[in-house]
């Protein structure tokens, strides 16, 4: 049976165990004079049986499903005769897909070498065996677990405590998923990054001024298959983010100020959700807008006033990204402005200052650290934004300061390097992970600093 079928089966078994244990606990309690004389309510005996039935079986199932494919793959590859044994990883994946296509009947077995056909039969066999064995094992463990808990339905055992302890542990594990995710992210980028730096020296990567991972222009070129200098990507990312922030910060901040200080209640009730709608629009929609509407418009405009412009410009991507970040900045600054104590504002107004003077001279300086934190968060968002730049900024790694030129960013390169043909050991693919690592570190630093600043600021007025 497949994993997707086994999962509901285990749940059904757990429900059965629940029912049986429930009935047994009532049966046990009967002669004693009712469930009052049990250490726990019948539902707890039942819940314990369900947990004993489901949890071990699910763990086995999860582990099996996670490693089944990989183990079978390795066994099949190891079975290949020497002359078919793959030379490189790229070759290996090709052979593997050939084998699985033959096994699935998509490829005629007469058209491939005998070794492949043999491997395909082996693959089929192993898959069947693994599936049978998995089904048996999971059902066995589920039944055994349920049966064990069933025998332990006794008046002197406090099932509630063990159920609650188990639940609490499960809750803890769920919370620990956050840690696991972070660890997973770090490990998934770190190995490939180190392998990358084994091929391309780190100084070349950090300080090189040319980026062309695709082409091998000359044999004596760095790394002999393309140049991996990250500077053009950095300048591109920075330029687009700077354009975005120079739109989003003033617009977002001023609208937050207006909404919190001047706007009447009905205006606020209408405008705020509208602004938040901008935040809910998917990034691919912004990308579409930037690539098909804003970029051509900017190009035509530039050509009309006699400037040279490429059809994919940093300006278009930056402008649209700025629009996307407006609600982010405005809602953060709204929070921060509202956190400034009422007394400061009242004091200033009582001294005869106008509202704008109060805003500029009292509230704004008081809220500045919080606003800075918000801007840092917005910057990290702009740096990590992918779809808008993939669709509108272009691929050419130009080292330029002209916003009408096409530039490329770190995220664009990650996407392009990983969506084409894939060989896991080429410097090209590994470079994507190195870029991912840089992106992760930079955004992490920005976030940590920003959260610290904001928290410190909040504590100041709490």
């Amino acid at each position: 049976m497949q994993t997707t079928d086994l999962l509901p089966l285990v749940l059904v078994l757990a429900a059965v165990a629940y029912g049986f244990a429930y009935m047994r606990s009532r049966a046990v309690a009967g002669p004693l004079g009712g469930i009052r004389n049990l250490k726990a309510l019948p539902v707890y005996y039942a819940a314990r049986a369900a947990l004993w039935c489901a949890i071990p079986a699910l763990i086995i199932l999860g582990v099996w499903a996670a490693f089944e494919g990989k183990v079978i793959q390795d066994m099949v590859m190891a079975s290949l005769p020497a002359e078919l044994a793959p030379q490189s990883e790229g070759h290996a994946s090709l052979t593997l897909s050939q084998i699985s296509n033959v096994a699935a009947g998509k490829l005629d077995s007469a058209r491939v070498p005998d070794g492949i056909t043999g491997a395909a039969t082996l693959l089929q066999e192993l898959r069947e065996k693994s599936s049978q064995f998995k089904t048996l094992l999971v059902i066995l463990i589920a039944v055994l677990g349920g049966a064990f808990a069933w025998t332990r339905v006794a008046p002197h055992i406090n099932a509630r405590k063990s159920v609650e302890r188990t639940l609490q542990r499960v809750f803890f594990l769920c919370a620990a998923v956050a840690i696991l995710t972070t660890i997973g992210i770090v490990f998934s980028v770190i190995f490939e990054t180190f392998r990358f730096f084994g091929k391309v020296p780190i100084s070349e990567f950090l300080f090189g001024t040319s980026w062309s991972p695709q082409t091998a222009l000359r044999a004596d070129q760095v790394g002999s298959d393309g140049a991996f200098g990250v500077i053009p990507l950095f300048t591109g990312t920075l330029m687009i983010s700077a354009i975005a922030l120079s739109i989003a910060v003033p617009v977002g901040l001023l609208s937050a100020v207006y909404l919190s200080e001047y706007a009447s209640r009905p205006v606020r009730a209408v405008v705020k959700p509208l602004l938040e709608m901008l935040a809910g629009v998917p990034t691919v929609v912004y990308g579409f807008f930037a690539a098909l509407t804003v970029a051509p418009f900017i190009r035509d405009l530039a050509v009309a006033i006699g400037l040279e412009a490429s059809s994919q410009s940093a300006l278009a991507a930056g402008l649209v990204m700025g629009i996307m970040i407006i609600p982010f900045v405005s809602s953060l600054s709204d929070d921060v402005i509202n956190a400034v104590p009422r007394t400061l504002r009242d004091g200033s107004l009582a001294m005869g200052a106008t509202q704008s003077e109060t805003m500029k001279n009292v509230i704004f300086p008081a809220a500045l650290p919080g606003i800075m934190g918000g801007i840092l968060l917005a910057a990290s968002r702009a740096i990590g934004e992918t779809m808008i730049v993939v669709m509108a900024a272009g691929l050419a790694a130009n080292l330029t300061a002209n916003p009408l030129d096409s530039v490329t960013t770190v995220t664009v390169q990650i996407v392009t390097l990983l969506t084409g043909d894939q060989e896991f050991d080429s410097a090209k693919t590994l470079a994507a992970f190195a870029l991912g690592m840089m992106l992760f570190i930079v955004t992490l630093l920005l976030n940590v600093i920003a959260l610290k600043v904001v928290r410190k600021y909040r504590e100041q007025y709490d």
Binding site: K70, T182, V257, G280, V285, K360
Partner: protein, 425 residues
């Protein structure tokens, strides 16, 4: 006395300037809001104006003579003959009924490019299914060729007629007048997967893919997120581990989504050997991505349950777990649901991480399970937006409208839930 008098004078004289500044400041605020709202309006009108034509299909209805001689076909039950026969010929013949002068080789070629390239398959399928129709004349409805379709939908715009010859344009206009070429609601768009030909491409494949992916995301992210929130709010001791978990959640909430794509590629595909471009991997990645959102909003919902409820339950002897599961949890449920729906809406619109795990492939079939290759709505929009043919742009914006409709529905549902179910204490 004179001193304070001159001070008052000073203030009075500066008042005009200060009020002017005040008005200017207020004007800046209004301008900022106007810019933001204006962008919103432009964005939506742009998408609607580009995309409404995506919901329209152009059809050609013809009296097709299923003449065996024309198709080099004597017996429609013979698969060899079916394989060799020319099914384009009767369509051209049917069109020639309207344009008897179009008989030259190049004219015929132009006529064959009035209907889409699946038109001849349509004739073949009909004959394969009902071989006895050979020799009769049938009224058949074909999808128009993309160039024709685009020309009809954007009548009068020269940018959209470049792929038709002048003769074809004349023919199209004439057939339009006669009602042979007609436009109607594009049911193809909602009933098919992707295609190389815009008029034949649909969004159903991506919709089903999104549904499957979101199913996985919901099944994982909601229980795990809620359980994590319950743990952190109710059970977590204040120690290093708890602090570390909290720091991690806050940081994960701000990690760029593309990083989660790298995680999915390296861990789920690389280590666990799950296949590429399947909803399971997409759902797992999106679940990890939405977890922080769900945890944070669920914690806020739990926090808003007043302590009196807890104390009352504890007072009559409930255990900590009973207090949480029987009292706090049900009361916090609406808030948790609201947060989860908003998190799911985010996940539904997410594109970047899915590109890295291969959900960007060209897939024609509608996916039929969690382990079949699929793409999702936003990725389909991305693919169409990057296609060169004019017809795909309108499909991309039509797809965006469908996506936005889903998002608006989900958000409206969240707001309704909050208003309807959330109790104010």
């Amino acid at each position: 006395m004179t001193d304070s008098g001159s001070q008052a004078e000073l203030v009075r004289r500066s008042l005009k300037r200060r009020y002017r500044k005040e008005r200017r400041f207020r004007f800046y605020g209004i301008t900022a809001i106007a810019i933001a709202l204006f962008s919103l309006v432009i964005l939506f009108t742009d998408i609607v104006s580009k995309g409404y034509t995506g919901f329209i299909k152009t059809t050609v209805t013809l009296e097709v003579p299923l003449d065996g001689e024309l198709m080099y076909l004597t017996d429609a039950t013979d698969p060899d003959q079916i394989a060799m026969a020319d099914f384009q010929a009767p369509i051209i013949k049917a069109l020639q009924a309207y344009f008897p002068t179009a008989t030259s080789r190049s004219d015929k070629r132009e006529l064959s490019r009035m209907t889409g390239s699946y038109a001849s398959n349509q004739v073949r399928d009909l004959l394969e299914k009902q071989p006895d129709l050979l020799g009769t004349t049938r009224t058949m409805e074909f999808l128009a060729h993309d160039a024709v379709s685009v020309y009809v939908k954007h009548a009068g715009d020269p940018g959209y007629s470049i792929r038709l010859t002048e003769q074809q344009q004349r023919w199209t206009d004439e057939l339009l007048d006669k009602g042979v070429i007609d436009t109607s609601f594009n049911d193809v768009f909602f009933s098919r997967g992707d295609s190389r030909e815009p008029s034949n491409a649909g969004i159903l494949g991506a919709l089903v893919g999104s549904l499957l992916t979101m199913g996985i995301t919901l099944v994982i992210a909601f229980p795990v997120g809620v359980a994590a929130a319950v743990y952190l709010e109710e059970f977590a001791p204040s120690n290093r581990i708890t602090d570390f978990i909290e720091v991690n959640i806050n940081n994960l909430a701000a990690v760029p989504s593309i990083i989660f794509g790298l995680l999915g590629l390296a861990v789920f595909i690389g280590v666990f050997g799950l296949p590429r471009s399947v909803p399971v991997v997409g759902g797992l990645v999106l679940a990890l991505m939405t977890l922080p959102t769900i945890i944070i909003s669920s914690r806020a919902a739990i926090k808003s349950v007043p302590p009196s409820i807890r104390e009352a339950a504890e007072g009559i002897g409930a255990s900590k777990m009973q207090v949480v599961l029987h009292h706090v949890f049900p009361l916090a449920m609406p808030g948790m649901l609201t947060g989860s729906i908003i998190g799911m809406a985010q996940a539904l619109g997410e594109t970047a991480p899915l590109l890295l795990i291969g959900m960007v492939a060209f897939i024609v079939e509608v996916p039929d399970g969690f382990f079949s290759s699929a793409t999702v709505l936003p990725v389909q929009i991305f693919i169409w937006a990057g296609s060169a043919e004019q017809g795909f742009v309108e499909l991309a914006s039509a797809g965006i409208m469908v996506l936005l409709a889903f998002l608006i529905t989900m958000n409206a549902l969240a707001i309704w839930l909050r208003k309807r179910l959330e109790r104010r204490w």
